[in-house]
């Protein structure tokens, strides 16, 4: 599976016209054919395609993702340096979206014709149809330009001493807007999904049984219904985790958040093939890990899956 991803990425990026020699030559304002050939030789680009591919796959399997053309640093090191801010952003956004979205959906499902339920429907529509970068700019206009209570960009104010409590708080402060813009879209999706799923479950026979047992509405909703209703939410969350990475590229770029998204975006502009391939490989790995986590979450929530796998 991972091997297929590596090979596919490699082939795909080889099809892109222009190579590192063109880029370097372009940046230094032109170079002779000899210099270009020399560069190509240094990076092994003069060798036949299948040899290049085999070399790359061999190296990746040993844990070496190659060296960035631009930074002249090992790609692995480069990615690991950028991964924490991205995970912080993506995981916070997704967790918030799932928790708040599900809560909204549950509240809306209990009174499907009340004001709050309509509010959730409208919120879902707006959140889902507004592009992330647009939401991000609107938030910047509101919080940074008009209210002036939020920092515009970056991970942290560089004057704050690293590692102190103030530093962590400052990171949170900087995190607020990116997370808000990134989670808006997903919040909308989860509230809608949870609402539909809850309404479905609340109409089922075992909910009637729970009520006939004399349980109160709160127990019925949060114990008997919610646990069944989150099963589709888990499915979608697992699928969307990979999707939210692409959203992160946009949000990180808008807020110059020093994460993988910014790195990916800039590396594409620079034609830094090893870095792009490294990031793609890394995100593929994350998707696989998340799928595994999704499966585990399923087993925790739904006993039917537990026994089906054990049998």
């Amino acid at each position: 599976m991972l091997l297929a991803v590596i090979i596919f990425n490699f082939i795909l990026l080889s099809l892109v016209p222009g190579d590192i020699a063109d880029t370097l030559a372009g940046e230094s304002g032109g170079a002779s054919q000899e210099v270009m050939d020399d560069i190509r030789r240094t990076y092994g680009l003069d060798r036949p395609f299948h040899i290049q591919l085999a070399t790359y796959v061999g190296k990746v399997l040993q844990g070496d993702l190659g060296t960035s053309y631009y930074f002249n640093l090992p790609v692995t090191e480069l990615i690991l340096g950028r991964v924490a801010p991205t995970l912080l952003l993506v995981v916070t956004a997704l967790v918030l979206a799932i928790l708040i979205g599900t809560l909204f959906g549950v509240i809306a499902s209990r009174k499907p014709n009340k004001l709050f339920s309509h509010f959730v429907t409208v919120l879902a529509l707006v959140g889902f149809s507004a592009p992330v970068f647009w939401t991000a700019f609107l938030l910047i206009v509101l919080f940074v330009a008009m209210l002036e209570i939020m920092p515009l960009s970056g991970l942290v104010d560089p004057t704050t001493p690293r590692g102190t409590l103030a530093w962590y708080l400052d990171v949170l402060h900087h995190l607020f807007l990116p997370v808000l813009s990134l989670s808006s879209i997903y919040l909308a999706a989860y509230s809608r999904l949870a609402r539909a799923s809850m309404m479905d479950v609340l109409g089922s026979d075992y909910i009637r049984t729970a009520r006939a047992k004399g349980l109160g509405e709160t127990t019925v909703t949060y114990k008997h219904a919610l646990r069944n209703a989150v099963i589709p939410v888990i499915t979608i969350a697992g699928l969307q985790f990979s999707h939210i990475f692409s959203g992160a590229v946009v949000v990180e770029t808008v807020f110059t958040w020093p994460g993988l998204g910014t790195l990916a975006f800039e590396s594409i502009l620079r034609g830094d093939t090893p870095t792009i391939m490294g990031i793609l490989f890394f995100s593929a790995m994350i998707v696989i890990i998340v799928n595994l986590l999704t499966d585990i979450a399923y087993r925790v929530v739904d006993p039917r899956i537990r026994s089906a796998r054990n049998a």
Binding site: S204, D205, Y206, R208, T209, A210, R211, A212, K213, G214, L215, G216, H224, R227, N228, V301, D302, P303, R304, S307
Partner: protein, 333 residues
């Protein structure tokens, strides 16, 4: 038995549903009474209001669109229709329990059956987790589930339909309710399993002395289980009598039709009647009921009076009632 005070009395119960076609009166003046330890059968076609009667007693009618308009439901003299929602939660599962038609979907798939039985016990009797689980095991043993200690940790999907209905019965009886409402408890089960479930209900009734309201469209099941029967049609009680009386001499034309419809295992059905009998026509739309008897359009005895005015239940003999003008003869007992 005849002299005992009624445990549960339903009087003039009216339930309406708002539909697109207008207001449908799904229950119209339903009256019944249940004595301790007795089994009362409710029969009728689909949509006649049997299940709605049960849900109204439990006050579980979905509102809106439903609304309990008038009447009284008295449990040991207390009118449940005027009780608070908190009081109703005490009653449900403790004084009145219910089992449903669909054992496959009536248990929550994500909790073990032990947890689901114990939950009721913990709620109503404030027992500890351990004590209530013990009760769950004992209840499973009582309903003849083999290896109850192991089964108590299993989940609904690991059990067959018959087993699940046993679990439902165990759950319903875990707090020793005085009334058990069984809404078509065997309709979704195999015939052989049906008999087992009925035997179990009888056995549990003997052990616990609980009164049962058995809802069914199956005259055979009613004949086997019930002491008294009420027959419902289009939201009204059309006949009420002891089971033997109703089987031997049904009074209301609808009841007669129902009993004639029960298939018989005969070598040679009489030539004037095929192997299967039916009542001609269909149940009318509840939103479009006129002033007359709702069975009149399908009744061979119907006359102008029937179409103009709905009959009130007339007492026939000593202890039976029927809502049909045929029994309004002057001087009739």
């Amino acid at each position: 038995m005849q002299t005992a005070a009624p445990l549960l009395e339903v009087e003039g119960l009216e339930v309406e549903f708002r539909t697109r076609q207008g207001i449908a009166r799904v229950l119209d003046g339903v009256t019944l009474s249940l004595k301790p330890g007795q089994t009362l059968g409710i029969v009728g076609e689909s949509g006649c209001g049997k299940s709605m009667t049960a849900l109204s007693i439990m006050r579980l009618v979905p509102t809106p669109p439903g609304r309990i308009g008038a009447g009284a439901v008295r449990l040991k003299g207390e009118n449940l229709l005027q009780a608070s929602e908190a009081r109703m939660r005490e009653v449900r599962g403790k004084d009145i329990s219910m089992i449903f038609q669909e054992p496959m979907t009536s248990l929550n798939p994500v909790y073990s059956i032990g947890d689901q039985i114990a939950e009721t016990v913990r709620l109503h009797e404030r027992l500890s987790r351990r004590a209530s689980l013990e009760r769950a095991v004992n209840m499973l043993k009582a309903v003849h589930i083999p290896a109850a200690e192991r089964r108590v940790r299993e989940f609904p999907h690991q059990m067959s339909g018959g087993m699940r209905q046993r679990v439902m019965i165990a759950m319903a009886l875990a707090c020793r309710p005085s009334v058990l409402i069984a809404d078509e408890p065997t309709t979704a089960l195999d015939v052989t399993v049906q008999a087992q479930v009925f035997d179990l209900l009888k056995e549990m009734q003997e052990k616990t002395g609980t009164a049962i309201i058995l809802i069914s469209h199956d005259m055979g099941a009613i004949a086997e289980m019930a002491d008294r029967v009420i027959v419902m049609y289009a939201g009204r009680v059309v006949e009420e009598a002891a089971t033997d009386e109703i089987l031997e001499s049904p009074k209301h034309p609808y009841t007669r039709g129902l009993i004639a419809c029960v298939p018989h295992m005969e070598e040679q059905p009489p030539p004037e009647r095929g192997a299967l009998t039916e009542i001609p026509g269909v149940v009318p739309s509840l939103a479009a009921l006129g002033a007359g008897c709702s069975f009149a359009p399908r009744c061979s005895h119907a006359d102008d009076l029937c179409r103009r005015q709905a009959p009130q239940p007339f007492t026939v003999g000593t202890d039976r009632r029927t809502a049909c003008w045929l029994y309004d003869e002057p001087g009739a007992p």
